[in-house]
């Protein structure tokens, strides 16, 4: 499903070059619930941005569903991002001026779907995250947990190959965070949706099927199977 081979990423900070990812190789299979854990500064955000096609590695190969990614055409990359990747962010990143249902529909807008199709499908996904009653509310009228549910619906709506979640519970209290995680687990088990969750919280990582630990740009703890 996702395969990274010897991914390096170097940033230029002033005159110095900082290597953030130092040769990452990993494979994530379809239907996995995969955690990437690591302290801040370990390079996990850069890894996620690379996986999510927002960032371009300095060297190495990256395959999504056996297609090697080439980074020279924005249209191709954007289309892949639109169709294959669903993002869930720590700070939800909903557009404040838009209602819940409009936010959910944005990925479909960029697929060129018709207005009523977008509305129909968005509503369906809002139902799946149990937010259909809140369809016409704006983000600032919703609680943190509710906003994150809307964001999840938005990540799911395009039926992507993989959901990338960057600290999805980071802005939530423990109980709400756990609800979100449980929801991820349900989606993973019942519908076989593939998740990669980036977190610094070992409790969350422990609940995933598999995890890898990132430290200073290298994977130190090899993708062990989590006992459950």
């Amino acid at each position: 499903m996702l395969r990274l081979i010897d991914i390096h990423k170097t940033y230029k900070v002033g005159p110095e070059e900082v290597e953030v990812l130092k040769g990452i190789s990993m494979t994530i299979e379809k239907g996995e619930l995969f955690a990437i854990i690591g302290p801040s500064g370990s390079g996990k955000s850069t890894l996620m941005n690379t996986m999510g096609l927002l960032d371009k590695p300095t060297s190495g190969s990256y395959f999504i569903e056996d297609t090697q990614i080439t980074y020279d055409d924005d249209r191709v990359i954007s289309t892949l991002r639109n169709r294959k990747i669903g993002f869930v962010f720590q700070s939800y990143n909903l557009l404040p001026r838009k209602t819940a249902i409009e936010n959910v529909g944005i990925p479909l807008v960029y697929r060129g779907l018709k207005k009523n199709e977008i509305k129909e499908q968005s509503m369906e996904y809002l139902k799946r995250v149990e937010m259909d009653k809140w369809a016409n509310y704006k983000p600032n009228e919703l609680s943190g947990g509710q906003q994150q549910r809307v964001a999840i619906a938005r990540a799911l709506v395009g039926n992507p190959a993989i959901i990338l979640a960057d600290e999805p519970t980071g802005a939530l209290d423990t109980q709400t965070g756990q609800e979100i995680l449980t929801f991820f687990k349900q989606l993973n088990e019942k519908e076989g949706i593939t998740f990669v969750i980036i977190t610094h919280d070992p409790d969350i990582a422990r609940q995933c099927k598999r995890m890898a630990e990132l430290r200073d740009g290298v994977i130190t703890d090899r993708q062990r199977k989590v006992d459950r």
Binding site: L54, R75, R81, I106, Y110, K115
Partner: protein
């Protein structure tokens, strides 16, 4: 599809920053408004001038004394001028006239008005028609009868003269009896002597006896068919040169007048174009500024949209459409403003109001172009926003 979503998007985002939007619009509104207003006024003026030719026909010429002629005192002889039709082929009829400014006192009112001395043929050539009473005929020679313009008649009625017709008024040193009122004529830019609506007309023989200025300096003539100016000029100079030593003439045709008006209009348009362009450039810079602020403010939104699959070109077109929407809104308000201004102008000048569709089209086109032009750079900046830094920054 994308377009409609983008337009909705643009309207939403513009209305969320109302104050800024309105301020940016002012420049565009004034720019478009002034251009449209001026073009419309120009059209109204042109229409008005052409209307006179429509009334009179364009086979009319004005023949006037050349003031550079060797003998400055000489004027057209009345009988010789009237006999012109018999001697010069191509002339159908002639209408010599004398114009003189005259003092008019009535009750406490004192005014300086234009008095005209004409022959019967004048009414036919100028297509003047009677509103009340009758016109001056050649049988009214040497009699102190007059007809008055419609505006003059109305003002007399307002100031208390119940029956204008048949009343006596003193113009200059003589008393005239009003025998008719003529219908309103369209004035300005044409062949007619000015001030007919506010003026007084008597017979030319009466005029030659009582006016301060008694010589005939100008006459109108109707041609049988349109002829080139040099031919007419040569024939008429030949005719009058034999009659009156030292008299040379100048001919102006309707065609010449229309052409001259066209030249003036082009100059006018060029000037307006320049003024309009400057204000539109200033307006465009204002819009560009607003768009740049908007891009900076919405970096996060751009990052989110990019993460959700928006291509650079999607972001770019979103901002260009926003800028075009902004400018079009300003353009439409400007068009309405310009038309209103020209309407007010036409109303006070008592001229026919017309809406210039070319001007509206131009306004829409120009404001779209300004929108694209001033939206292009900000939109490109928006498309180049790095989604990672945009998403990271709060």
């Amino acid at each position: 599809m994308m377009l409609r979503i983008n337009i909705n998007e643009a309207l939403e985002s513009l209305s969320s920053a109302k104050q800024r939007t309105v301020l940016a619009l002012i420049g565009i509104i004034i720019g478009i408004g002034s251009v449209i207003g001026m073009i419309s006024i120009g059209e109204i003026v042109k229409n008005q001038a052409l209307k006179q030719f429509e009334d009179m026909g364009i086979n009319i010429i004005t023949v006037s004394k050349d003031y550079d002629s060797p003998n400055k005192m000489v004027t057209f002889p009345l009988s010789g001028t009237l006999a012109l039709g018999k001697h010069v082929p191509g002339i159908a009829s002639v209408a010599p006239y004398i114009v003189s400014g005259t003092q008019f006192s009535h009750g406490s009112k004192n005014a300086f008005i234009d008095m005209l001395g004409v022959t019967q043929s004048f009414f036919d050539i100028c297509k003047l028609t009677v509103r009340e009473g009758r016109l001056i005929s050649d049988l009214d020679s040497y009699r102190y009868f007059c007809i008055i313009g419609s505006d003059f008649a109305d003002s007399l009625q307002k100031s208390g003269t119940k029956n204008v017709l048949g009343s006596d008024f003193k113009f200059g040193k003589r008393i005239y009896t009003v025998i008719g009122v003529i219908n309103k004529v369209s004035e300005g830019g044409g062949m007619l002597p000015g001030g007919l609506n506010k003026g007084v007309i008597t017979h030319i023989t009466t005029a030659s006896r009582s006016f301060e200025e008694r010589g005939i300096n100008t006459f109108l003539a109707r041609l049988k068919k349109i002829q080139p100016v040099p031919v007419l000029q040569r024939e008429l100079n030949h005719y009058f040169g034999a009659k009156q030593r030292g008299l040379t003439i100048k001919v102006s045709t309707a065609e010449q007048l229309i052409e001259g008006m066209g030249k003036q209009m082009r100059l006018f348009t060029l000037l307006l174009g320049a003024i309009g362009s400057i204000s539109l450039i200033v307006g465009g810079v204002g819009v560009m500024n607003v768009m740049l602020v908007s891009v900076t403010e919405r970096r996060k939104e751009i990052g989110i949209r990019r993460a959700l699959g928006a291509q650079q070109s999607d972001i770019q077109s979103q901002f260009i459409i926003e800028s075009v929407t902004l400018c079009l809104a300003g353009g439409i308000i400007g068009i309405l403003l310009g038309i209103t201004v020209s309407y007010i102008f036409a109303y006070f000048a008592k001229w026919d109001f017309i809406v210039s569709y070319a001007a509206i089209l131009l306004g829409v086109g120009v404001s779209t172009a300004v929108g694209v032009f001033s939206g292009f750079y900000p939109a490109r900046e928006a498309a180049r926003v790095d989604p990672i830094t945009a998403l990271r920054g709060e």
